[in-house]
Amino acid sequence: MAIETTPAGIFGLIALMALVTLVTRFGGVFLMSFVPISPRIESFINTMASSVLIAIIVPMAVGGDLGALAALLATAVTMLALRKPLPAISAGLVAAASVRYLG
C-alpha cells in the first residue's frame, strides 16, 4: 500500500509515524507492568540498560570514519580521567574535528 504525498496524505503518513513511535515509547513500560520485578528481572533490566548504550556506540565506532573513532576514544579517556561528561564530549568533538581537518 502506498500513500500519495498530497497534503492530506502527508499528514496521514506523519500521524502513522507518530503512532508507531508512540507505541515504542509506551510499549516497553506497558509490557513490564505485567512482569513481576524479581531480583533476576531487575538484574536483566540494569545490565540491559547500559548495554543499549554500548550497542549504539560500537557499530558507530566500527562503521564510522577515523574522526568518529577519535571522538569516541577521546571521550572515553577524558570521561575515565575526569568523570565529567561535558569536558569528555568536548574532547570528543575536538578530536573528531582535528582528525577530519588533518585527514
Binding site: 503518513l13 506523519i14 533490566i45 540498560a49 547500559s50 554500548i54 550497542a55 566500527v62 569516541l72 573528531a96
Partner: protein, 249 residues
C-alpha cells in the same frame, strides 16, 4: 490507599534544573534539527509539515530515514517498519525505567514517556545505576530537547542548514560521545563489563548480518541476558540507596 501506591514525589524545582542541565546538549540538537529541516524541504515537505513531523514524532534518526523513502508516493508498510525498527530501542529504554515508573500513576507515567529520548533517558538510567531516582530529567530534559528539535527544524526549513558542514566540526558525534560518557559514568563491575562485551559483539554481528536497524535491540538484549543469568551477589539492589555517588555534569 491509591496515594500509597505511587510514592514517587516529583520535585518541580528539579524538573527546572534538569531542563537547564540538558541545555548545552540541546544546542547541538538544534544543529541536527536544522539539518533535518533542510533535508525535509529538499524532499518536498512544506515547512509546516516538517515542523509537525518533528513535533509529534520527535525521533531524529527515524525522521531522517523517512525522508530517504519519500517520493510522490510513499509505501506505508516499509516506512512504518523502518520507523519501528529504528525506534524499537525506546521499548527497552522505557522498560529499564519501569522500576521507577511503577511508582508513578499511570497518567503521569505515560505522559512523561511522551518526552522519552536518548539523551534524557541516558541520564536517568545512569543515575539509577548509582542509586539515584531521577524521573525529573525525563520531563525537564525531555522538554528542552523537544523544543531544541523543533527550533532546529524551524531554522532548517526557513534558513537552510546553519552550518556548511557540521561533520567537519565533529557535530555528528555529539550524541555518540554523550551516550558513551553516560555509559562510562555509570556503575562498573565485572558483571557489567562482561555484559558490555557481549552487547558489543552481538550488536556488531547484528549490524553486519541482520537486516539494518536491529543492532541496538539485539545487542541490548544480549547484554541483558548476561544480567539475567549472572546476578549481583552483593544482594541489595542499588535502587533504594539515595544520594551520594559522584555527580557528573
Amino acid at each position: 490507599m491509591p496515594l500509597a501506591n505511587y510514592p514517587y514525589q516529583f520535585q518541580p524545582r528539579k524538573v527546572r534544573s534538569e531542563f537547564f542541565r540538558l541545555l548545552p546538549i540541546s544546542f547541538f540538537v538544534v544543529a541536527f534539527g536544522a539539518a533535518f529541516g533542510l533535508a525535509a524541504v529538499q524532499v518536498g515537505l512544506s515547512p509546516f509539515e516538517s515542523l509537525i513531523m518533528s513535533s509529534v514524532v520527535f525521533a531524529g534518526a527515524s525522521q531522517f530515514a523517512a525522508l530517504d523513502m519519500w517520493g510522490t508516493q510513499v509505501s506505508v508498510l516499509p516506512l512504518l517498519a523502518v520507523v519501528f525498527a529504528i525506534n524499537s530501542r525506546h521499548l527497552l529504554m522505557g522498560a529499564s525505567l519501569y522500576p521507577m515508573l511503577k511508582d508513578v500513576s499511570p497518567g503521569k507515567r505515560y505522559a512523561l514517556l511522551l518526552l522519552l529520548t536518548d539523551a534524557n533517558w541516558a541520564v536517568a538510567a545512569q543515575e539509577y545505576q548509582s542509586g539515584r531516582r531521577n524521573l525529573e530529567v525525563i520531563v525537564g530534559g525531555g522538554l528542552v530537547l523537544w523544543l531544541a528539535w523543533i527550533i532546529g527544524t524551524a531554522l532548517g526549513v526557513y534558513f537552510g542548514g546553519l552550518l556548511q558542514n557540521p561533520k567537519a566540526l565533529g557535530l555528528d558525534m555529539v550524541l555518540g560521545c554523550f551516550l558513551l560518557a553516560m555509559a562510562l559514568g555509570g556503575k562498573k563491575s565485572p558483571r557489567v563489563l562482561v555484559a558490555w562485551l557481549v552487547a558489543g559483539f552481538a550488536s556488531l554481528a547484528a549490524w553486519k548480518w541482520l537486516p539494518s536497524n536491529m543492532h541496538v535491540v539485539v545487542g541490548a538484549l544480549a547484554g541483558g541476558a548476561v544480567g539475567f543469568f549472572w546476578l549481583d551477589k552483593t544482594g541489595k539492589s542499588a535502587v533504594n540507596r539515595e544520594g551520594e555517588a559522584d555527580h557528573g555534569d
